[in-house]
């Protein structure tokens, strides 16, 4: 499987990564090489095999529905790049 420049542009957008025009081709080549390496998976017959999503049994872990945390908003927002009166701020979205 190989990727072209346009596909890299699409997945870069999906991943919200800006990629310079001049980097699209080299990245396409690198990713194609990785995907080629991954294509060996097709040598295995996996009919009727359940996909393994996690090595442990996925039993649902439940707890009592009680409040265990105190209000730590200020503390938790400390690492944020921009905060205004308890809200995270971003560039204007709605005109």
């Amino acid at each position: 499987m190989s990727l072209d420049k346009e596909e890299v542009r699409t997945i870069a957008h999906l991943a919200r990564l800006s990629v310079e025009e001049s980097r699209l081709e080299p990245i396409a080549a690198e990713l194609s090489r990785v995907l080629e390496f991954v294509d060996r998976l097709n040598s295995v017959d996996t009919r009727d095999i359940e996909p393994m999503s996690n090595p442990v049994s996925s039993e649902l872990v439940l707890r009592e529905d009680v409040i265990t945390e105190t209000d730590e908003r200020e503390q938790l927002q400390k690492p944020a790049p921009a905060v205004h009166e308890g809200y995270f701020t971003v560039p204007r979205v709605i005109e």
């Binding site: 990727l3 990713l31 990785v34 996909p51 090595p55 400390k78 944020a80 560039p91």
Partner: protein, 494 residues
């Protein structure tokens, strides 16, 4: 200069440091000062530590010394360590080796940190690592590469390269580490130290910055299996804040290993595929000698075949990037981490913050992940990889019906030169050839030094059934009682 017997403090194992503390031969303040001085003296060249908290460390050491006079006698009380910079700490910044988190300090402690603090351990600082734990050479750190203390200019392995290098150089007797595809075992092998990745679910992942959530597991790097067991014991066990953390009781590993005299009755499976093409010949010879040592201790070597093993690396490079692309979407320049200057709009803010904050390998993996999860490709890649993962797990199950541990090389080669593989991602990924399968299947695995090839350390890997860390630790302990490879200190830092 403090000495115990005729040895300097850094030449002692954690177990010996602990004994000297409890006998009153040394204080924690003295030991902590000694470690800080070692970091000062050697880390300018090694670059194994990203941040050092000297003041807080000395305070914690003084507290530990007071606790001891008040009757506290825990085995880890007052012993200094370094945490891999992937574990969130309130007291020191947590960068994960990335520009994205260059100025991030976590508002909470990881469970691992909380538990080791509670045991009285003294945090010296945070260890260098490949950015977001993605890499096998520590060359992907935003804070610069780490030198292998065995030979300047060679890599320490990765992603826990800082942890392995600093333990090898005896800047501390122990460091925490994490392993998603070999990130504890590969650097431990390259640096001639002992590292254990426990069973998936043995150690809480709360506060351990996520790379690939179904593969990530915290563990320990130290000079001996006994020291690994000491710290792992305190780190392990159920945590309500991590739903995948096992509620199974944690056995007393130390008691078990101290009663082991030999390896009579142990069946060691040796997969022929682990010695096939791709394995360096000099490494193969040293590993075979290590296996012979296990045999001379009473173990029976059983030749086994794991034909699907070699597919592990292909399955891994679908599953890990897929989970990473999802996990790393949280770094959006809004709630924490790097934000670009003057964003035009919200999309621009996301795209540029992420492009500036993440290094090239992290971006590569995010892109692969986004691709294999995208509409139309999900079944062909992600589902297929998860099915192959099950095939590999079934193969292990079958093997463990007739053997107790599986042994072989940890890595195909010894530590390579800086820059040797950085242009070819696939060549770099092949470092993890023998280690990824244990992550895919959640199995515990350990690497221990078993000799040298071309003057560089070689690691012997042991893999066991899920939740059978005891077997790994006992086997490694018996081996280390009979051999001296783990005790050799690199000359530059002796």
């Amino acid at each position: 200069m403090s000495v115990v017997g005729n040895r300097e403090l850094h030449q002692l194992t954690l177990t010996e440091q602990s004994a000297a503390l409890s006998a009153g031969e040394i204080s924690s303040v003295e030991l902590t000062r000694h470690c800080l001085a070692r970091i000062d003296a050697h880390d300018k060249t090694l670059n194994s530590v990203i941040s050092v908290g000297a003041g807080a460390a000395l305070e914690a050491a003084a507290v530990a010394d007071v606790s001891r006079t008040e009757g506290d006698s825990g085995p880890l009380l007052g012993v200094p360590l370094v945490h891999k910079d992937i574990f969130c700490t309130r007291a020191l910044p947590t960068t994960c080796g990335s520009r994205m988190l260059e100025s991030y300090t976590s508002p909470f402690d990881a469970t691992v940190v909380e538990r080791l603090n509670a045991a009285g351990m003294v945090t010296l600082g945070k260890a260098n690592m490949d950015e977001f734990a993605m890499g096998s050479s520590n060359e992907n750190s935003f804070f610069g590469g780490v030198d292998n203390p065995w030979r300047a200019g060679t890599v320490p392995g990765g992603s826990s390269g800082g942890s392995a290098a600093l333990v090898a150089a005896r800047l501390a007797s122990v460091a925490t580490a994490t392993d998603t595809g070999g990130s504890i075992r590969q650097p431990a092998a390259f640096c001639g130290v002992t590292g254990i990745k426990p069973t998936y679910g043995r150690v809480s992942r709360y506060g351990m910055i996520a790379f690939a959530s179904s593969l990530d597991q915290g563990g320990v790097i130290a000079t001996t299996a006994e020291d690994c067991a000491q710290v792992l014991q305190a780190m392990s066990g159920a945590d309500p804040r991590d739903a995948t953390c096992s509620a199974d009781p944690v056995p007393d590993w130390l008691a078990a290993m101290r009663s082991v005299k030999d390896l009579k009755g142990l069946r060691v499976g040796v997969p022929e595929e682990f010695f096939a093409d791709g394995l360096d010949e000099a490494v193969a010879i040293v590993v075979r000698d290590g296996l012979a040592e296990l045999e001379s201790l009473g173990a029976t070597l059983v030749s086994i075949s794991l034909p699907k093993q070699s597919l592990g690396i292909s399955a891994y490079y679908v599953v890990a990037p897929a989970e990473a692309s999802s996990n790393l979407s949280r770094f959006d320049g809004v709630r924490f981490g790097h934000r670009c200057e003057d964003p035009q709009d919200l999309t621009d803010l996301y795209q540029r913050s992420r492009a500036e904050g993440f290094g090239s390998e992290v971006q590569r993996r995010i892109l692969i992940g986004a691709y294999v999860l995208s509409a139309g490709f999900y079944d062909a890649y992600y589902k297929k990889a998860q099915q192959v993962r099950q095939v590999i797990a079934d193969e292990f199950d079958e093997a463990f019906a007739s053997v107790d541990v599986i042994a072989g090389p940890t890595t195909p080669t010894v530590a390579f030169n800086r820059g040797a593989k950085s242009d070819d991602p696939v060549a770099m990924y092949l470092n993890d050839l023998y280690t990824v399968s244990a992550n895919l299947c959640g199995l515990p695995a350990l690497s221990m030094p078993c000799g040298f090839a071309d003057g560089m350390p070689v690691g012997l890997q042991l893999i066991a059934r899920a939740f059978d860390e005891e077997r790994l630790l006992n086997t490694a302990h018996a081996f280390q009682q009979a051999t001296g490879w783990h005790a050799v200190i690199p000359e530059a830092t002796s």
